[in-house]
Symmetry: C2
Subunit: 426 residues, 2 copies
């Protein structure tokens, strides 16, 4: 079974909204064994939508459509559906009851606009939506299945995960798609490619390798597809083990893991706690950490010392130290790591001080200069990084580098070689 995804919405075509829905749907479809052949985005125009529905149905057996089902005037998908499927809108009591209850839970009455959401195409099977007023619609045209869902991400996601997954699994008919990703940090894409060239050359023909660079991280993904899920996993696992053995010092995780999750697992396992002191990352490291559910078990807090007075006040750094070395220096960042660890009473700590840009650079310390320190019972380690010119990338790269240093301090078994210096330049 091959699927296509169609996202409807002018907001995507003009670049106002990023198409996250298609990504979510693609990953869920893959997980059920259904490959996605194409993703398309069209605007809120009847002719465009109708044409797209027809085209996609010629290539794919399943067409998943999101968007345009809202209560406001710009949402026209339902009218197009009636036309395309030669059906008409009928009033659905279940949807009305769901929507009345949805509003009642919020202490509100159903408005006329939302009452109209209970009109659905006659030939559709309704998929209930507990988080919004637009129901999903499962429809068929000949042998092609069309699935329509609202474009509001959390409504659509809940519909897929709570109702649709078993039905999609059944459609896949025993076909399996397996992806496995190794996550690396501290080395550029082309250097990695050179290190693993021999292994890549010798990969079995059914395995496909992809390189996915993002700020501070390169992901290596192996994919395979076929009827025998156990065999696919075995093949991929074997190749991954070989790959991991080639580059242990750069690998920090697998698949969807986040570096902060891996760190959380290590800290939990050791019964340790963490704090951060952040200057140029401005709370971003704490935010990444506290995005991990359950992080309150091992993360105590952070001092975001954006201003030097906060460094002297809350962290107790001496003004003389700041004066002598400057805020962006080994001495200051090490002191920040030590102080936040002491003051928040944690086992480990991270400190970052740098120049994110666009302002604040000097010839000696240009924008992108970042000092990072990690502290533990054994002492403090620090390192100088030179990132680029872009503020947002600098913040992200500094956070990833800091988390990587912490991971290496906590879990030194992987640190076989310290050729990070070379790699960090790439």
């Amino acid at each position: 079974m091959l699927a296509e995804i169609i996202s409807i919405g002018d907001e995507i075509l003009i670049g106002q909204t990023i198409n996250t829905n298609a990504g979510f749907l693609a990953s869920r479809l893959n997980a059920t064994g259904i490959a996605v052949g194409r993703v398309s985005v069209v605007g809120d125009q009847a002719e465009q939508i109708r044409e797209m529905l027809g085209e996609a149905g010629k290539r794919a057996g399943l067409v998943v459509v999101t968007g345009g089902l809202g209560p406001t005037r710009d949402d026209i998908t339902k009218a197009v559906i009636c036309d395309f499927f030669s059906t008409r809108l009928v009033f659905d009591e279940t949807v009305l009851a769901d929507n009345t209850a949805f509003f009642a839970r919020r202490g509100l009455e159903l408005t006329e606009l939302n009452r109209r959401q209970a009109f659905v195409p006659e030939s559709a099977a309704v998929i209930r939506n507990p988080f919004g007023t637009a129901p999903g619609l499962w429809m068929e045209k000949g042998s092609i299945i069309y699935l329509f869902m609202p474009g509001v991400p959390h409504e659509m996601k809940h519909m897929v995960d709570s109702t649709l997954l078993p039905r999609l699994k059944a459609l896949a008919g025993g076909h399996h798609i397996v992806h496995k990703t190794l996550l690396t940090q501290g080395i550029g894409e082309s250097f990695l490619a050179d290190l693993i060239a021999g292994w890549e050359e010798a990969l079995p023909s059914g395995l496909k390798l992809a390189y996915l660079p993002s700020p501070g991280i390169v992901k290596l993904r192996l994919s395979a597809a076929g009827p025998d899920e156990v065999m696919l996993h075995r093949q991929i696992d074997r190749a991954m083990e070989e790959l991991r053995a080639l580059i242990p010092q750069y690998v920090w995780g697998e698949d969807d893991q986040r570096l902060e999750e891996v760190i959380g697992q290590i800290l939990r396992g050791k019964g340790m706690s963490l704090s951060t002191a952040e200057s140029c990352t401005g709370g971003y490291i704490a935010h990444r950490i506290t995005s991990v559910p359950g992080s309150s078990a091992w993360f105590r807090g952070s001092v975001v010392a954006y201003d030097n007075e906060v460094k002297t006040g809350l962290l107790g750094l001496s003004p003389a130290l700041l004066q002598k070395h400057g805020a962006v220096s080994r001495e200051v960042v090490e002191c920040m790591a030590r102080e936040v660890r002491l003051r928040l009473g944690t086992d480990a700590s991270i400190a970052v001080s740098g120049i994110a840009g666009p302002d604040g650079g000097t010839p000696g310390k240009p924008v992108g200069t970042v000092w990072i320190a990690v502290a533990g019972a054994e002492g403090v380690r620090s390192k100088l990084f030179r990132f680029g010119d872009e503020r947002e990338r600098n913040i992200v790269r500094a956070a990833i580098a800091a988390l990587g240093m912490l991971k290496n301090m906590l879990d030194p078994s992987d640190e076989k070689q310290d050729n990070l210096t070379q790699a960090n330049k790439a």
Copy 2:
């Protein structure tokens, strides 16, 4: 001139990477007066790519393609281009020199893999890439222009902004597309639609309205297109002024503005400074604030008090207060706001304490319960919010609500009615 965007990459089709490139390109094309008719994503397979190039060229005059130009084996776009355009790869000395210099700046030698990046299709005009090794390619087939760029976002973005914009503008041939967006906070989409129904009804026929809900924020966008840019702006500005007058208490900004930017402008204007004390938002508010370039002029820092000991330690809250009311309470959050303002010596402050989930909820204080306080010279204001079950959404909605409260405290002119309570439920 109508454009289509094609993004190449299995990583997008399997949902591993979100297609942010298409969004950037769409907004830049719109800004130059070129409408985007469709966005498509295809995998790294020669047949798929070739088919897609042909199809898009039948519908559009400009086809912008990203991805598949990297140095590794999974990047096959250049081979497909040669086939599609009936041309061959030739060695380009400029690209080689650029790439040699790119590596030299990092203290590295050009690897063989990257040397090969200097092979480009013979009929292509090369667009130089100062941030990576894959040059862009401007090609023509009959009257259709094809533009190929690498998929690495910052490389592609720089190519567009530094080299391509004037050429695209010329292609638009005097056609203009104007979008204007009003940003609201504190009211749901359908309530907003009811409030502005009469205005929407009376909109001139050339203006198109769209509702764009996202966590905590609803955007209202007006779009128009035509040859007379001044007239388009005048029409849209007039409609926007009328709209703004209908819902002043919910409007906080325009277009791409972020709430934290608007706050920064107000604080700068008044010569005021800000600090935050964050529990359940875990540094996310500080991160949003410090993502604004120049925020160091008005933001001093944050205490991320994830653990109660940090609330008593760094913020000096009394353990008895925490014991009596619980960390998620009016008393505690007001005290956090007062203390962080005092201790960081700022004019204003924000404090948040809540239960982001998935754990930590109780029958009296379920997941999604969040107390927010803002403090200034006039005192402290606080408010209770009940968000939903999802951790990430709760963190985002709490941050937006907190920034919204601060904005209203700093700029009370817009607070004509306080019907926020009703609206926040929606």
